[in-house]
Amino acid sequence: MIICPNTKISKILKQNSDALEAIISITPKFEKLRNPLLRKLMAARTSIGMASIIAGVSVETFFEKLQPLGFEPDRETEPESNTEKPKLPAYFNSLSPQQIIEFDVRPIINSGEDPLSSIVKKVKSIPQNCALKIINSFEPTPLISLLKKQGFDSFVNKVDDETVEAYFYKTGVATVQLNESENNSEGWDEMIKRFEAKTETVDVRQLEMPQPMMAILAALEKLPEDKALFVYHKRIPVFLLPELRERKFDYRIKETAPNEVHLLIFKD
């Protein structure tokens, strides 16, 4: 079987079940693939390219591990989209953090219950002009189609391999506000689009002050001129901003929740 960065992990496992151990040996992060249920959920959605980002290794590492098992690497094909970058619809530009209602369903799932009924209840309680953000450990596909029937548009943002944010909002409201941010050629969405597939990611949410600043500055030092750095942060790193200016970087900041901030940093 020929494998490329876009080959799904599930296809590989189907071909040769020995590949499971080979993949787990790359990083303990993949231990969860041993769980048949999670394997079903995740492996079908994850390509080698995506998995290599999660593991923090190159695609080549996967190829090397899989080659002895009879897989033929195709090194010509480029990964479709390097990373799953959140491309929040322009509508979210017009929302303040208070207008995004967060609902973490992981505790419900962890306790072994079905979160669907509480989600439906939550959806009904959302005021006009607000969006619901559901935090889950996988993409809630059934929910998306269910709410679509009720007139909700959705947007899915994969934060990492264990966290998926799904946004739901009424479409009617969106169109009005969309026009406003469309005239803006320098906004978050446009910048995200401009650096599509040309971003590197760093997550500093777990770091203690002042390490986030150090980590970001270190990542910027290695960042190629034409690329942008996408940062997951807990708050707006105000003290970083003068340092960015000093190093001739510009930035866009997006607060997705009161304690969830995304930054895009690029050469000015």
Partner: protein, 434 residues
């Protein structure tokens, strides 16, 4: 398996509405203190237990130093302990009681009348500190992380409440004779509880985190910080014991030596973090903060001379006055000047631009105040400080007047720059979602 929510997500910033009143109040207190100084220069030729001098000292210690620190800590502590501030309401209460209590007390000093207004003032100040203490205690108790800086800040607050309770007793002692001796004889105790317990512990606790951060230095050494912590607390406790139960001047060398070692360790801590910094160009705000650390050496030297002279039963009043002046107008003022513009513009930036930073280019937080005005303020302040200290030492009133004018100019420029930052209006992207 389905973890990933270990991210506490409780790092929400304290609202600017809580912090700004403290900052603005402190700035105005500095202005009042410098105006009072200008009109009280003859007082600096007298004994230190003098109405104007006591009034000015308390405007500086409470209105300027303490209010600024309370404001900054409401913002900073939640960031340090990664825990939201427990209560905004307690913070407002703290501000409200302090804001009313401080002028009442100071008016009492100025007129040397310790009747009910001054007494209520002292009670209000204590109430304000208690609200603050409760707020910090609960916020910190909720945090699971042990943090040496937070321990410094909390211990400092405990010393502060001891200081203000002692102060309250001294105020009542004027009218009711509740203590065994007169209020003047307890002054050194009250003063050093505040200076060492509150200001020194706090400045080291906060400075040891902020200075390396602003220098972008990887240096960190909790072991040294813990040593400093024990040295300062040992010094203070031994001083209290010696002061209350022994009447032997030579014993004071023990706490003095402990403080000297602590200051030396902190100085070397700052030097090392400066040495290992990534940021090559150090800005004016950090420079003056580092200078302030160096300025701690002045009061220490004066104190050494004062104690040496006391051994020979000589009490040199100008020296003691200079000692106090170097602490409040020197060390504490210098570090507040630096740290104000390392915190305030960022708080304002967050308020004005947090929702707009996704729409387009936003100004650098440093552009929210004028670095030029800051530089002029710095020069005016430093020359005023040196002249005034010299003027007190040689008891020359003309020098004192000139120096007081320079200090006043610095205070006006400081307030102007603070006001400029606070009233900042968004520059780009007026069309926003408002």
């Amino acid at each position: 398996m389905l973890t990933g929510n270990s991210n506490t997500g409780l790092a929400k910033n304290t609202s600017y509405k809580v912090v700004l009143p403290f900052y603005l109040y402190a700035g105005i207190a500095l202005l009042i203190a410098t105006v009072l100084t200008l009109f009280s220069t003859p007082a600096f030729l007298q004994h230190y237990f003098y109405p104007n001098t006591l009034a000015i000292t308390h405007v500086m210690a409470l209105g300027w130093g303490t209010m600024m620190i309370l404001g900054a800590c409401h913002q900073l502590v939640p960031v340090l302990i990664e825990q939201k501030l427990y209560s905004d309401a307690l913070a407002y209460l703290s501000f409200f009681f302090a804001a009313i209590g401080i002028p009442l007390l100071i008016a009492g000093f100025y007129q040397f009348d310790f009747g009910w207004p001054a007494q209520i003032g002292a009670v209000f100040i204590n109430a304000a500190i208690i609200f603050y203490l409760i707020n910090m205690a609960i916020s910190m108790a909720k945090s699971k992380k042990e943090n040496v800086h937070a321990v410094f800040i909390f211990t400092a607050t405990l010393w502060l409440i001891i200081t203000t309770i002692a102060g309250l007793l001294l105020v009542y002692n004027f009218s009711y004779n509740i203590l065994s001796k007169d209020s003047l004889s307890y002054l050194p105790l009250h003063a050093h509880l505040g200076i060492i317990g509150w200001f020194l512990l706090l400045v080291i606790g906060v400075g040891s985190r902020l200075i390396p951060m602003f220098l972008i230095s990887k240096y960190s050494n909790n072991k040294i910080l813990w040593r400093i912590y024990f040295l300062i607390n040992f010094a203070l406790i031994s001083f209290i014991v010696f002061f209350l139960y022994f009447n032997i001047t030579a014993l004071y060398f023990i706490p003095l030596t402990a403080i000297a070692i602590a200051l030396f360790l902190f100085g070397s801590y700052c030097y090392k973090s400066y040495h290992e910094r990534i940021r090559k160009k150090v800005d004016n705000q950090v420079k003056i903060s580092l200078l302030s650390v160096f300025m701690m050496a002045f009061p220490l030297t004066f104190l050494l001379i004062v104690i040496c002279l006391l051994l020979f039963s000589v009490s040199n009043i100008p020296l003691i006055l200079t000692y106090g002046f170097c602490i409040f107008f020197g060390w504490i003022t210098a570090i507040i000047f630096g740290m104000t513009f390392k915190t305030l513009p960022f708080i304002i930036w967050n308020k004005v631009y947090h929702s707009k930073a996704g729409l387009g280019k936003t100004p650098n937080p440093k552009e929210l105040f004028s670095d030029k005005i800051f530089l002029v303020m710095e020069i005016s302040y430093l020359s005023g400080f040196i002249l005034f200290a010299g003027g007190v030492l040689i008891s020359n009133e003309i020098i004192l007047k000139i120096a007081a004018v320079l200090l006043l100019i610095a205070a006006v420029l400081y307030n102007g720059n603070v006001w400029r930052a606070v009233t900042h209006k968004p520059k780009s992207h007026e069309r926003n979602n408002q």
